[in-house]
């Protein structure tokens, strides 16, 4: 029951921000490239529901457009992680105990040993700051996460009799991995995907906050916070709303992940 509540709450929150990002392509309350210095740092009002920033831009509009950046960066980073990590994990599990497994897992450990933020910074330092490099930096660290989750779940599946039955039916490792293993780890991957998605949004916000994410004029939540910092005592709303946007999006995704876990877990479902 509790799982249902977090699932719906999380789904609701996530949809709100996805919708805001989608709508921003067609319409925003106020064009975010238009500066109106005379109108700067206005607190929330009917004209500007969430107020204006130090350049007089409408904060609600900025948040809506910023959602696009956050979602795009995190989504592609999850895609990279899944696209490479899942096949790696399946391969490692299929060759469990062999040298291929050993190499893949040691490689994983190695990536885990690098402080992710520092490497993200290193990548952007060598290749220059951009949304694309932020995606790559975050994506690389998703690979071992998915590889590990996939391998762990696949390992326990490989000991099942039904896999033995498939081998008696003459099926090879690759085919068994795709036909029998992948569909049965998919639930877990969906749950992990939502978690990595939310971590991606947090990471993107952090990188843009220190100026290594999306570059101006593309609005992003992290940079909105960076710009608000010096004016925090004069115009706290400039800091509060973008932060809340991050908080609620990440919260929504996490709740959705938890809810999905409970809902998809057949053990829990049977007990219900």
């Amino acid at each position: 029951m509790k799982g249902r509540v977090s699932l719906w709450l999380g789904l609701g929150l996530t949809l709100v921000f996805a919708l805001a990002a989608a709508v921003s392509f067609l319409w925003v309350p106020q064009d975010v490239t238009q500066l109106a210095i005379a109108n700067k740092m206005k607190p929330p009002s009917l004209a500007h529901l969430l107020g204006t920033d130090h350049l007089g831009r409408d904060i609600l509009s900025m948040i809506m457009v910023g959602a696009r950046t956050s979602i795009a960066v995190a989504l592609v980073a999850v895609g990279i992680g899944m696209g490479l990590g899942v096949p790696l994990g399946l391969t490692a599990a299929a060759h469990r105990g062999g040298w291929l497994d050993e190499i893949i897992m040691r490689g994983n450990d190695l990536v885990f040993a690098f402080p992710s933020l520092i490497i993200a910074i290193l990548i952007t330092a060598v290749f220059g700051p951009s949304a694309l490099n932020a995606i790559i930096a975050i994506g690389i660290f998703n690979i071992p996460v998915f590889a590990r989750v996939t391998r762990g779940a696949a390992l326990s599946l490989w000991t099942r009799d039904w896999i033995m039955a498939a081998r008696v039916a003459g099926k090879g490792k690759a085919r068994i991995s795709v036909e029998h293993i992948l569909p049965n780890v998919l639930n877990l991957l969906i749950v992990q995907g939502t978690i990595q998605f939310s971590l991606g949004i947090l990471a993107e916000a952090g990188l843009s906050y220190v100026g290594l994410g999306a570059q101006p004029p593309t609005p992003s939540w992290g940079r909105m916070l960076a710009e608000s910092q010096t004016m925090i005592s004069l115009a706290p709303h400039m800091a509060i709303f973008p932060g809340l946007a991050i908080l609620l999006t990440v919260l929504g995704l996490n709740l959705m992940g938890d809810g999905l876990r409970d809902w998809l877990d057949p053990r829990l479902r049977r007990a219900r």
Binding site: D161, W162, A165, A166, R167, V168, A169, G170, K171, N184
Partner: protein, 525 residues
């Protein structure tokens, strides 16, 4: 007066009734055997006495221990009772002990919880308890950790914990189900001795009539949360009254009717098969290899049913995987229909031999429909047969299911039905040889009897050849023509089933036969 008297006990978990008016009694120094199949409520009865029930369980009725009603006691009083007045032994010794604490500390804890004694005194009493459970300190220091002990030894530790304070009542919940026959015999003898020495009441819960036949004073047979029959153990011979009890006894001794195998040509031949597991790699090379199968030779003829018995770890599963061409062998040769068996062998070879596994719950991909599950071995055919659906239907009907079951998912079936589906899957390619790897071991006795009948019927009708692998001597005796006994990777004895069972020639075979629990002569419904 009875030591334990359960009167009209009802128990429901989240409103779902589990026990429906159970009444039982155990006298001082008496052994009560409670027998039932899965879902009969026999274990829940035991846990009700301990009041260690799952969350949401509600008991009504009376559970009188020495005249005091357990159901009226508060949690503190119950904690004082558990371990001191009532000890308990569980089914799964491998997980029943804390892996991070040594056995001395775990046994001494029972003493320390209940008696205000110092550490030295508690350890001295733990030492004594372990010695009584036949783990003397000279050979099993109390600093040992559970992972350094075998399953049987761990069960002795659990028993030592349960009897350390010489409780009045000992509850043993399937204490030997997870153990090999020879270990089972030793543990049962130990429990009987301790009960006799301490004048303890023993509540022995099991699914196996033969286990209680040897040691219980009285028996109670449970079904669906009710006691259907209760009485002295002599009822087994004098005649059980309730139809369910009679059916249970009949199933336990069931011999399926078989035509007996005629001698066909040799279809599978193993010559000097060796299977080594390479030693674990470490810094300075590899540990010595472990020889799981050692110089095994035998033949199977078309139409016969060959048994392979042995205890866990004897190498029978490893041998099975090699025979199926799933793992390479390091010496000798296996030939099937005259051609060599190896991991890279062709599909037409694999189509000729299929397998049925033990666990009806782990043998199927939960996401596939039965039609896809049963037809998976068609992968071995050069092309999918035109009438694939018809053949699936045919196979399902052959095992006593219906073609409508094709559309269902595996979770919609019971354990026995799943094992029938596994047999259907094995039949689908019309193989010559079916390997039955502990195929009925996980089933309740009455279901087991039905599946054995099915197997006998199929082999008669379709001329199938079986390799029947099991640790259960009774089952092997019922279904095979010839039997091999395996110990530590070797076949120690081989011959016609009746001869091996009546006149065993090897010591190990004799040992196995003596250890196996037997129903008394004349115990038939």
């Amino acid at each position: 007066m009875s030591l334990l008297r359960i009167e009209n006990l009802h128990m429901a978990i989240h409103g779902f009734p589990v026990l429906k008016g159970v009444s039982l009694a155990v006298g001082v120094g008496e052994v009560l055997g409670v027998i039932g199949e899965s879902g009969s409520g026999k274990s829940m009865t035991a846990f009700s006495v301990m009041q260690l029930l799952p969350e949401g369980a509600v008991c009504t009725g009376r559970i009188l221990l020495d005249g005091r009603d357990v159901l009226d006691e508060d949690e503190a009083a119950l904690c004082r009772m558990r371990g001191r007045d009532v000890g308990m032994v569980f089914q799964e010794p491998m997980t029943a002990l804390n892996p991070l604490k040594n056995i001395g500390a775990q046994v001494a804890e029972t003493v320390q919880i209940h008696a205000r004694v110092g550490k030295a005194e508690a350890w001295a009493r733990a030492r004594e308890a372990l010695a009584r459970a036949e783990l003397p300190e000279e050979r099993f220091p109390m600093s040992r950790f559970p992972h350094e002990l075998s399953g049987g030894q761990r069960q002795r530790v659990v028993i030592a914990m349960a009897i350390a304070l010489r409780p009045k009542l000992l509850i043993a919940d399937e204490p030997t189900t997870a153990l090999d026959v020879t270990t089972q015999a030793q543990i049962l003898a130990l429990l009987a001795r301790l009960a006799r020495e301490d004048g303890m009441g023993l509540l022995l819960i099991t699914h196996d009539l033969a286990v209680v036949a040897g040691m219980a004073d009285r028996i109670a047979i449970m079904k669906n949360g009710e006691v259907v029959e209760e009485g002295p153990v002599s009822l087994l011979q004098a005649g059980l009254q309730h139809p369910y009890s009679q059916a249970l006894l009949a199933a336990s001794t069931h011999q399926p009717e078989r035509d007996g195998g005629e001698d066909g040509d040799v279809i599978l031949k193993a010559e000097g098969v060796i299977r080594d597991y390479s030693g674990k790699r470490h810094l300075w090379g590899r540990a010595a290899p472990f020889r799981a199968v050692d110089q095994v030779s035998f033949t199977i003829r078309r139409g016969e049913s060959l048994g392979l018995v042995g205890e866990s770890g004897c190498g029978k599963s490893t041998l099975t995987r090699a025979l199926l061409g799933l793992e390479p062998i390091q010496g000798g040769a296996i030939t099937f229909r005259g051609q060599p068996v190896h991991p890279a062998m062709g599909n037409e070879m694999r189509a000729g031999m299929q397998v049925v596994f033990q666990d009806p719950y782990g043998s199927f991909n939960p996401r596939w429909r039965v039609e896809k599950l049963v037809s998976e071995p068609f992968h071995l055919m050069p092309e999918q047969p035109q009438n694939a659906r018809d053949r699936v239907a045919e196979a399902l009907e052959a095992v006593g299911l219906t073609s409508a079951d094709m559309e269902k998912y595996i979770h919609e079936f019971s354990g026995g039905q799943r094992q029938r589906i596994a047999i259907a899957r094995a039949l689908i390619t019309r193989p010559d040889l079916i390997v039955l790897d502990e195929a009925v071991s996980a089933l309740d006795v009455s279901v087991r009897a039905q599946v054995l009948d099915l197997l006998a019927d199929l082999s008669d009708r379709l001329g199938l050849t079986y390799l029947f692998i099991s640790h259960d001597l009774n089952v092997v005796r019922a279904i095979t023509d010839r039997v091999m006994v395996m110990q530590r990777g070797r076949i120690v004895e081989e011959g016609p089933t009746d001869q091996v069972f009546t006149h065993p020639s090897h010591d190990y075979t004799r040992q196995l036969l003596t250890a196996a629990p037997k129903l008394p002569e004349g115990a038939a419904a």
